[in-house]
């Protein structure tokens, strides 16, 4: 793109009128224009669907809407108000705890399964792999309903299994101590298969002669994993880590369907709190401030992840 445009710029001094591209063609008939036209749908979509709503949220977060006094500029007032609100602080705490648990858990299980289904000679590996991937095809709402039946304290499948081994029934989604863990189990049931697909692709790209060499050197499976698989899996792994983090920070449907943020705010993740503040409580100003806070949290976490991965390089 830069070549033809730069040359066209140079000619403009001696030939007034429309800028002309390579071999005297106008710029809009050159390859730069073609490239721009190809990029245009993405740029328009990016502007309309990402940048504009982002700017609107930022602008809205600086305003307070009151039924009596209308809309007024409050600067950082909504942010200060949010951070003095116990429910919001609880939502931030729950979200951070959730992020710290769900991402390492999903990624560790995904790696383990990816290795199991590629490197190990396991009977029926393709069938098992398909079963792990299957939940991805299930709509989130359906998954939530299925798990609500499994987790039902009275007559649910989970408690029935506990009864078989002589353990007492648990509250799961109705218990403040177990609800978040129950949501993490549900999300991992869906997420593990999805992230595993990327890691399987990454493992299949590792040259097999490296494994053969490791085997000739007498490396154990654990040593092979640590010295061959893991280092060469860093690129897909970094993608999975960032994508899983962002995806899990945006979890909404299971919380809305199963717990409504409860019991006692124990599953009140920021995405649900934003939705609830905006559309159940009608407090758009603070909801938009919360959106900005969530974006900042996401960017900070992702930036830290990128930095960690870079330093490893």
């Amino acid at each position: 793109m830069s070549g033809p445009v730069a040359r066209a710029g140079g000619r403009a001094h001696t030939a007034p009128g429309p800028r002309r591209g390579h071999r005297g063609t106008p710029w809009w008939r050159g390859t730069a224009a073609v490239a721009l036209a190809f990029l245009l749908p993405s740029l328009v979509a990016l502007t309309l669907l990402r940048l504009l709503p982002g700017a609107t949220a930022l602008w809205g977060s600086l305003h307070h809407t009151s039924l009596l006094s209308g809309e007024s500029f409050v600067g950082l007032g909504n942010y200060l108000n949010l951070f003095s609100n116990a429910d919001f602080r609880n939502a931030v705490g729950v979200t951070l705890l959730f992020t710290l648990v769900v991402n390492p858990l999903q990624i560790a299980v995904s790696i383990a399964l990816a290795v199991l289904y590629t490197r190990r000679r396991m009977a029926g590996a393709k069938v098992w792999r398909a079963l792990v991937i299957l939940p991805i095809a299930t709509p989130p709402a359906v998954s939530a309903v299925v798990w609500s039946v499994i987790f039902r304290p009275e007559g649910g499948l989970a408690n029935a299994l506990l009864a078989v081994v002589g353990l007492p029934p648990q509250g799961y989604l109705t218990s403040p101590d177990q609800a978040l863990a129950s949501i993490i189990v549900l999300l991992s049931w869906i997420g593990v298969g999805y992230w595993m697909l990327f890691l399987i692709a990454g493992i299949n790209d590792i040259p097999t002669d490296l494994y053969e060499a490791a085997e000739l050197d007498g490396a154990s499976p654990a040593r092979t994993f640590l010295s061959v698989t893991l280092p060469l899996l860093r690129r897909p792994l970094s993608f999975v880590l960032v994508a899983a983090t962002v995806s899990n920070l945006l979890v909404f449907a299971p919380v809305q369907i199963l717990t409504g943020g409860g019991p006692e705010g124990s599953t009140n993740l920021l995405m649900y709190d934003i939705y609830s503040r905006a559309y159940a409580l009608g407090d758009m100003g603070r909801a938009q401030a919360e959106v900005v806070v969530l974006v900042v949290i996401t960017l900070v976490i992702v930036a830290v992840q990128f930095r960690m991965l870079r330093s490893e390089d």
């Binding site: 224009a33 245009l40 309309l48 809407t65 609100n85 116990a86 304290p153 409860g262 006692e264 407090d283």
Partner: protein, 425 residues
């Protein structure tokens, strides 16, 4: 190759222009098609829509159902974004002031006289905010106690009659429910909407705790007074003691009674039709009250209003007025469901039918419903902050059901209500 590139580039450019166009202009009005949004089963509205379309040539109604749990937030979300693909929508009656104050309801004041004549004063008043009429009531409601006679017979307990003068207390009901459980029935007592303000307000009202909303502008909360705490402690104990199941959400409860797994079930008139197919031998009785307290029942239902962003307001008004003000239309809205018509003429024709909905089992329901609507009904608080209040309270009820301490949870709910109402002041 270059030519092919240009063709593709033109297509890409045109696609982006189309995207811009799509984002900048919404779907416009659709002639005589009325888009109608509500939480009920589409089958319920088939008779109404057919009757309306037959009486109004050139109009068609397209109905969209939004599940009850997501209804209020979905409507709020879509109307706030000035979604013009909704013409007429259902609004929970106590939410009318909130929706009107936000400019999400069309002013209907020009049909004030007709609206006042068509329904009771209480129902008419639910559509008023700031001296103007914003929504028309379509249905009314009450609550009845369904008694599983098979379960009581097993326990050797004689159940309550339909006579309001022989109304049971909650204490008597819980005792009989325990006896039924001991005799083999899985659950003793179940409230249909286990964590909704509509159904739980009467518990506190029965003890004199009020609606929980006070003040001249109805923007002060009083949800942690001793009566509210006592009522909610009793409510929480029904789950703690195993009379009611914790894992069954609101509106998932009726199948348990229909299957014979519950001794006492407190539900709406709509359950009369719903339980007609059940094999259980049931009867109806008045909703209980607390010993030493007052007999109180919930009331109110859905009103319908017009979206100010609608491109088809005349057609929308025609449909709304037919469903609410025309007795024939209002009656058609109740043909496939058991619910009390808000239109006086329609209600007079409709109510006697409920006595025979389920043969002998529903006998006496009509008189009982009429009695409750006239004598024991309380309305939900009419406040511009009802939407926030209900949201906070429903969450608190769910927590208390799951084992939270009633007093501290109500205290916390009060603080949350204060916080949620701050932008309204």
């Amino acid at each position: 190759m270059r030519k092919r590139q240009r063709v593709l580039a033109s297509v890409a450019g045109a696609a982006s222009l189309a995207l811009v166009a799509a984002c900048s202009s919404g779907p416009g009005g659709d002639g005589g098609t009325i888009q109608f949004l509500a939480p009920e089963d589409p089958a319920f509205f088939e008779p109404l829509i057919e009757a309306f379309e037959a009486a109004h040539e050139g109009y068609t109604v397209e109905y969209t159902q939004v599940p009850f749990d997501q209804y209020n937030s979905t409507v709020q979300q879509r109307l706030s974004a000035e979604d013009d693909t909704i013409d007429v929508y259902a609004v929970d009656q106590p939410r009318v002031p909130w929706m009107a104050a936000q400019g999400l309801l069309e002013d209907l004041s020009d049909v004030e006289e007709e609206a006042r004549a068509a329904t009771t004063e209480g129902q008419y008043s639910t559509g008023i905010h700031d001296g103007k009429l914003w929504a028309l009531p379509v249905w009314n409601s009450t609550q009845l106690m369904f008694v599983n006679q098979d379960a009581l017979a097993e326990a050797g307990v004689e159940g309550p009659s339909t006579d309001p003068d022989e109304r049971w207390t909650w204490e008597e009901t819980a005792e009989a429910a325990e006896a039924a459980q001991e005799a083999g029935t899985e659950w003793g007592l179940l409230l249909e909407q286990t964590d909704y303000y509509y159904q739980l307000q009467p518990l506190a009202e029965s003890l004199g705790g009020g609606s929980g909303v006070v003040g001249e502008d109805m923007l002060e909360q009083d949800v942690a007074n001793p009566e509210w705490v006592r009522a909610m402690e009793w409510f929480g104990a029904t789950f703690e003691d195993g009379l009611s199941p914790r894992g069954v959400g609101s509106f998932e409860t009726s199948p348990l009674f229909a299957d014979g797994d519950v001794a006492f079930f407190v539900g709406g008139p709509w359950d009369l039709g719903g339980f007609a197919d059940s094999d259980v031998d049931w009867t109806v009785a008045p909703m209980p009250y607390f010993e030493g307290g007052e007999a109180v029942t919930p009331s109110g239902s859905w009103s319908w209003g017009v979206n100010p962003a609608s491109q088809n307001k005349d057609a929308a008004r025609a449909f709304l007025e037919y469903a609410a003000l025309d007795a024939e239309g209002n009656l058609a809205s109740t043909e496939r469901q058991t619910i009390i018509p808000a239109n006086i003429e329609a209600a007079a024709e409709y109510l006697p039918r409920v006595d025979t909905l389920a043969g002998e089992r529903s006998a006496g329901a009509s008189d009982l419903i009429t009695y409750e609507v006239q004598n024991t009904a309380v309305v939900r608080p009419v406040t511009v902050g009802y939407a926030q209040f209900e949201e906070v309270m429903n969450t608190a009820f769910a927590d208390i059901r799951n084992g939270s301490d009633a007093a501290s949870r109500l205290e916390q709910a009060g603080e949350q209500v204060d916080d949620a109402w701050e932008p309204l002041r």
